[in-house]
Amino acid sequence: MTADTLFSLAPLVILFPLLGFVFNLVAGRRISERGAGIVASAAVGLAFVIAILQFVALGLDPAGATIHIAEWIAIGELEVDWALQIDTLSVTMLLMVTGVGGLIHIYAIGYMHDDVRFQGDPSRFPRFFVYFSLFMTAMLILVTGNSYLTMFVGWEGVGLSSYLLISFWYEKGENGIGNALAGKKAFIVNRVGDLGFIIAMLITFWFFGTLTFEEVFSEAEAMGAAAVTAATAITLFLFVGAAGKSAQIPLFVWLPDAMAGPTPVSALIHAATMVTAGIYMLVRNAPLLELATVTPNVIAIVGAATALLAASIAVARFDIKRVLAYSTISQLGFMIAAVGIGAYVAAIFHLVAHAFFKALLFLSAGSVIQGVEHGHHHADSAEEDFNPNDMRVMGGLRTRMKVTFWVYLIGALALAGIPPLAGFFSKDEILADASHVNPAVYWVLVLAAFLTAFYMGRQVLMVFFGKPRSKAAEATKESPATMVAPLVALAVLAVGGGLINAPGLLPLTRFLQETLAGIEEPEFIAAIAILTTLLALASIGLAWLLYGRRPIKSRAPDPLQSRLGPVWIAIRHRWWVDEFYDWLIVRRYVSMARWLAEVADERFLHDWVHDRVIALGYVRATHWLASVLDLRFIDRGFDGLGALTRRGASGLGVLQTGYVRNYAAAVFIGLVLVVSYLLLS
């Protein structure tokens, strides 16, 4: 089999999830829960097989291929075809998305089986997999698109399915509307980023006259210095889009709220795949970033700042999923910073490794949450406002959920950067690159890494060590096999994931070099590796001092509260970013909307323009038209015309005597007149 034959199979990678989506949409309710889940999982599994085939094909022909599917848009100069770009970068993403996605699908079969019962609506089970398949379809379109516009279709598709899945239990949450609000927030904040993407597309088309990646990049390369300004503007706006999708400052506020969705959603969309779309998109635009002047610095600084800010907030969370959410933002900040300093491979490496261990952590957290929920129901405790996500009600789960504990520990250590787990290599590569490109970014990232190890240590200690702090935690049991098996698989990946770009061998770098021309091989700096490892261990030790040595009591304040003082208040309140946005934008917007509704619409448009000017004016005008113009002039005019006609007719009727000889005389007169005319003319 030649490479081209294999490349031609590429459209199947999208087609399979699409078929799964359609099948579950049409028949999902008629088959069993397990059936719907298996169809969706099998669709992703087949897509994974196709992705592997593409990987094999790239082994034969590393240059990749563009698979043309159809003409899509042709308006004037704008010609966009629907085509798939298969190269090493997109195949890396394909493998990660379908591989991790497949495991999460399998996990979701078990998780959602219980979740729909806890939430009290089992009939909603197939819908979950409909959304999941829709998400996979959109994500794969995003990854494989060969133009900005195709990518944007996937970009919006994942945004939509993210919205649908965050508010999956739309009638639940705070005041029965919390989940819906979380979905709305995610959608609106993402729209801000999408606007940046759209503007970037418009500039691209305006400047380069095309939207295809390859053409844009070759044009930009050919133009050289002339394209610097355009590349800067385009990449800046693209970064706005990436900041929305990948939850960077200032658009990160939606991601913690997105935890309202079921845990597999958090794992798949808000940790492993969708939120990494921004990083993928920026790496895809590496040729433009290389040309641009300001953008890389902006990206690096924003990424590093996000990494630190989110890590600091994560320290003061009690919700097990929120800790992971802020951790995700922080790690995305690492990746974005890596893109900013030009370490594209490191960014992708960390992206993949992060997908492994963060999916693992989220799924394990889901296992913990469901275990506690089970325990809550089993213990039949009377606590009304019981929150199974709250780490303060957990504790001592180490012995009750053995497998979950071990895989969670692996994930946490990987995230903390303990060798030889995946996170150690990927994070270290970013830090090593940062150290000789931008020292400031380097030190900020080191600090963030230190905090990362601390909050993960805090979480593990609070959840699994000590004694159970509630009856629910006491009664917790291990989760079923469908949930545990993917956890073990992901744990293996989290342990061995570092090998995909292990120092010295660097297979990922070699692989990506085919697409990202000119990237350098990273060097392994032993000093940095030792420093970060020691920092991580120290951080974990600090966490043990605070949380492990003397386990906190159920209702006791956090030990950090007294030690950090005002800083604790700040991070507890998430640096008041949400409040600031609420004050800066939401209130202004709401008051403007209210003003528009009450003053502009109600009073001005409705009361004055519509009722007074239009309605009253119309009534008066019609009244005048009816009584004056119509009755007095038009009616009389036509009456007069009618009377005139009638009178004229009766007058002329006299001529019609009915006597044939009169008519003959008339003809005679006519004859005489005609002859007279002929004679006189």
């Binding site: 002329l652 019609q656 005597t657 009915g658 006597y659 000889r661």
Partner: protein, 103 residues
């Protein structure tokens, strides 16, 4: 050769006969006599046709007379049939008694 007779004579005679026919249509109330007057007018026209044909040496004028006679025959047939129908309905052929179309 017709010495002494010119087109003027023919035209004058034709005009006089036509006028007499027209006068007859106007003053007579007997429908049959009105018809006869119409025939007189047609004959006056025919006379002018033949006169012009002779004056110009063109035979077409005489062919036209032939057609006029044919049309006159048709007209008489219809006209007399109408008169018979009117007489059946009204018992009279006085045209002044038929004035149903009075406005």
């Amino acid at each position: 050769m017709i010495p002494g007779v010119s087109m003027i004579h023919i035209l004058i005679l034709s005009g006089v006969l036509f006028t007499l026919g027209a006068l007859g249509v106007l003053i007579r109330r007997n429908a049959i006599v009105m018809f006869m007057s119409i025939e007189l007018m047609l004959n006056a026209a025919n006379l002018a046709f033949v006169g012009f044909a002779r004056s110009m040496g063109a035979l077409s004028g005489q062919v036209f007379v032939f057609f006029v006679i044919a049309v006159a025959a048709a007209e008489v047939a219809i006209g007399l049939a109408l008169i018979v129908a009117v007489y059946r309905n009204r018992g009279s052929i006085d045209v002044d008694m038929v004035s149903d179309l009075k406005g």
